[in-house]
Symmetry: D2
Subunit: 203 residues, 4 copies
Amino acid sequence: MPLTALVLSCTLKKSPAESSATLIGQEFLDALRDHDVIGELLRVVDHDVKFGVTTDEGDGDAWPRIREKMLGADILVIATPIWLGQPSSVAKMVLERLDAELGETDDEGRMSTYNKVAAVAVVGNEDGAHHVTAELLQALNDTGFSIAANGSTYWVGEAMKATDYQDLDPKPAKTVSTTQTAAANSAHLARLLSSQGYPPAST
Amino acid sequence: MPLTALVLSCTLKKSPAESSATLIGQEFLDALRDHDVIGELLRVVDHDVKFGVTTDEGDGDAWPRIREKMLGADILVIATPIWLGQPSSVAKMVLERLDAELGETDDEGRMSTYNKVAAVAVVGNEDGAHHVTAELLQALNDTGFSIAANGSTYWVGEAMKATDYQDLDPKPAKTVSTTQTAAANSAHLARLLSSQGYPPAST
Amino acid sequence: MPLTALVLSCTLKKSPAESSATLIGQEFLDALRDHDVIGELLRVVDHDVKFGVTTDEGDGDAWPRIREKMLGADILVIATPIWLGQPSSVAKMVLERLDAELGETDDEGRMSTYNKVAAVAVVGNEDGAHHVTAELLQALNDTGFSIAANGSTYWVGEAMKATDYQDLDPKPAKTVSTTQTAAANSAHLARLLSSQGYPPAST
Amino acid sequence: MPLTALVLSCTLKKSPAESSATLIGQEFLDALRDHDVIGELLRVVDHDVKFGVTTDEGDGDAWPRIREKMLGADILVIATPIWLGQPSSVAKMVLERLDAELGETDDEGRMSTYNKVAAVAVVGNEDGAHHVTAELLQALNDTGFSIAANGSTYWVGEAMKATDYQDLDPKPAKTVSTTQTAAANSAHLARLLSSQGYPPAST
């Protein structure tokens, strides 16, 4: 039975602008398909997600619909650009919305995100991928996701250069194989957890 | 001659909701007044600031007007809540907009933010102030601001507790004196730089 | 069949000095025992670990012996104090030594750390646990470890206070239950991976 | 009258091993000389600095002698390699020793580091400079140092590449000019603060 994935592209740019973060997010989704995981990519800024830390901020908030997709997925991938060496504000907005899951637990104290795997894909002109990964992994693990071995991929250029990932052709081999490994491992872990989830805390 | 300050509160909550970040930002502004610095506090989410990394994203973008205030101020204070141990998405949005200053240099290669001082005020229910400060200081220094000795203040509660800063009465003495020191030092440094600014890079 | 764990306490203080990081590390080990995981705690500064990024820096380096224990364990727990809002230098030294595992892969490109789970336990007088967790999780995931849902525990006091975790009696209930959850989830994940490890990258 | 600088190279490798961090530290010192700042570079691992958070850990601790040089300097430059996207453990050890300055204040509550400027120089094979800068600036500002506009410099290569900074010839123009700017601004700020230091907190 196939698993499902949701990729949230956290670019600052609305469609149809080209977006390197969206591209690496799509590549991650493609790599997951090799492991019998189907899914979709969603560009967050194309939707009216509100700032906040609840599951529904009202007033036309688009998060509840995205949250439904997240709850239905086995794997959540956050794809983000780097700005000033840090995750995008849109990625931070998504993490804040996921913070609400800390209060959404079952009778056994397990969050609705338990048994899901999170992965990270990061691109920037230069520098910042490891730190962006750190920020995202910590926040995603705090909010209940598990992380597979080598559960992230990235590309950045040399210091102070301005090349965009989307303009590279072909894509750097190291990033391609890192994406494949992250996808393979995330799929494996998600498959294990989908059939053998975390026990209740009281067990 | 008085100096001027702009405090940007990066709470996620629109007015008139109570906001601890706004409160500590106001306290910072009050402390600056003792050192002959006048200014104003602006709650960013009350304005329609767009995601982006340019000085003007068009389409009703409120940033250009805020940017004018920033350019007119000697001191910029970023006041932010902590979410998941990290700066708020609104603070990140502000930093991304300041990123545009990297391209706004004079004939001598100096950014429009040179000779301005940045300071930071952070509050959260628990944990995260040092890291939030690190993220903000690095990004503000990257975008041309100088940082005075002990140029930040903060309050957080004990691990996993839920008290809000705004509900503390009186305010903790350590945070009060830390705010006073950060304000005094920022005012001193801003005064020095307003009369004796950085020389051209070529000097 | 029981699993095994290795807890590395990254306190700056040699034995027999009291150490809060060692204490929470021991509590994590105790919590693991409830899930049929046996193991040992090792205080890194009691051993002559050299600075470096290889598996053996020579000259009496104590890391190779610690590395053997790590390779024999299913779960690695890093317990660290917070200094200046950041992980201890000893924790950083350990991560740098683990960096060598990036070059130690099997015929299928899998690191020697694959199928192991890492967890984190953090204590400080005040502030910094989330960021320390972020730094450690990213580095541990980079070097091949998987992370269970809510795979960390911590305690810190109120801002600018000086209480030590080891002086709290009884221990705060929230930290106790967070440690239990992190241990339960880490044991569950390690058990899954010990019998159903990551497939070769080429599969 | 010339100012003085102390550059602490936080490479993991003892002399006479080649070290990119030492090289960029030396380049920073050279750039400072153009602004009438003289000084010296010290490779920390060549000295027996102990782990700890006091001014003197005893037992042959080399820090007190380094600390004397730091107290005599107007500018402190931390030069560090990047490992796993983070500052070196040696840099962290130095920051922990500087933490002791929080307790070393004059009658007016000013640390012994007040009126000194800190700057940062970072190199790595790939990725991590912004975050390393963030960690260092926050810790150095916490411990009393001021930060000049654009007070850091760095070089890193493209993602997952292995080139060393020391093997680049000529050095990348962007890094060279960034080092010059950081040095010029740090010298300017140090000169201002050496004659017009921070007032007592009570003023």
